[in-house]
């Protein structure tokens, strides 16, 4: 639980500067990573950030997705280098496992930074 919280709260120095420079924060907030802004892909990335590896079936059930839907979105994330897909067998049954790459972790952190910057900027504006 603490690891999850710390992962969600992890920040680098960029958003700290952003809080003192609302216009830049606003610009960055608009330049979102559209690839993971999509709810389904954001869910895949978030799930994989919390569990180091998930099988196709686990992800499908966890996020309540169809086979086709998960395949399409996972392929987009794989093409972007955010997710790795390992195909193998467990006994005779095929098993596909997904995990988040370092680029994927970074993209999620940056996305969270964007969201936090937007919230900070809105708070700054509401005070002024």
């Amino acid at each position: 639980m603490a690891a999850r919280r710390s992962a969600l709260r992890r920040k680098d120095s960029t958003p700290a500067r952003a809080s003192h420079q609302p216009p830049q924060a606003a610009t960055r907030a608009v330049n979102l990573d559209r690839l993971i802004h999509d709810r389904t892909r954001l869910a895949i990335i978030s799930a994989l950030a919390a569990s180091s590896t998930l099988t196709f079936t686990e992800l499908k059930q966890l996020l309540d997705l169809s086979d086709g839907n998960l395949s399409v979105h996972a392929r987009k994330l794989e093409d972007a280098g955010y997710v790795t897909c390992t195909k193998g067998f467990e006994g005779r049954l095929p098993k596909t496992q997904f995990s988040l790459t370092e680029a994927g972790h970074r993209a999620l952190r940056q996305y969270l930074d964007h969201m936090e910057a937007i919230i900070r900027h809105a708070r700054t504006r509401s005070r002024s």
Binding site: M1, R4, A7, L8, A26, A29, R39, L42, A43, S46, A47, L48, A49, A50, S51, S52, L54, T55, T57, E58, Q61, L62, L63, L108, Y111, L112, H114, M115, E116, I118, I119, H121, A122, R123, R125
Partner: protein, 194 residues
């Protein structure tokens, strides 16, 4: 898009990420039906143990119940994990066990120590408190309803401490290992797929 709307959307996104991460990291193969079966054993055992003529027979009754119920719980967990295509030794499963098992091992060791010290009257609160503590610790990596189960077991344990003695012991143990497991087993079966 106005800033207030963007602000709300950003807050929603962060909450969405948080919820997804919590769900992803939760151990969901907690057996509801197995819990009901173990609860039925608990109720039956409480009735039988209350009629035991000696403390030794009382202890033997509860230990046999534990030996019967434990494989039922383990088998039910394995069956549910397999049915849901969840690896029992996934990261969340391991975290659940890391929380749950130490208290169970402590309970077994203290049972031995208390029996040797001829303090059998302290077994009921010890079992209830440690089982509750184990479930509470495991709940941090599992479904949230287990927090209630653990807390209520511990509350029963506190009650058992306050009324130490064999007639009360069976009431507290029956309420915990019987009643609580049946009630929450039904809730888990309905809300968490069996």
């Amino acid at each position: 898009m106005p800033w207030t709307a963007m602000h709300e959307r950003a807050a929603e996104s962060i909450e969405f990420i948080r919820e997804t991460m919590v769900r992803s990291a939760s151990f969901t193969a907690v057996p509801g039906q197995g819990g009901v079966a173990m609860g039925a054993i608990g109720v039956l055992t409480a009735v039988l143990a209350s009629q035991a003529p000696t403390p030794e027979r009382w202890l033997a009754t509860w230990l046999v119940a534990a030996v019967v119920a434990a494989p039922i719980g383990l088998t039910a967990t394995l069956v549910k994990a397999r049915r849901n295509h969840v690896a029992l030794w996934s990261a969340s499963g391991r975290r659940f066990m890391q929380g749950f098992l130490p208290a169970i091992v402590a309970g077994a060791a203290l049972t031995l120590a208390l029996v040797r010290a001829d303090r059998i009257e302290l077994l009921a609160p010890t079992w209830l408190l440690l089982y509750g503590a184990g479930i509470l610790a495991g709940a941090t990596a599992s479904i949230s309803v287990l927090t209630w189960v653990g807390a209520l077991f511990m509350a029963l344990g506190v009650g058992a401490v306050a009324t130490t003695g064999q007639p009360w012991a069976d009431a507290w143990l029956g309420a915990g290992f019987g009643g609580l497991q049946i009630v929450f087993g039904i809730i888990i079966t309905r809300k968490h797929g069996g």
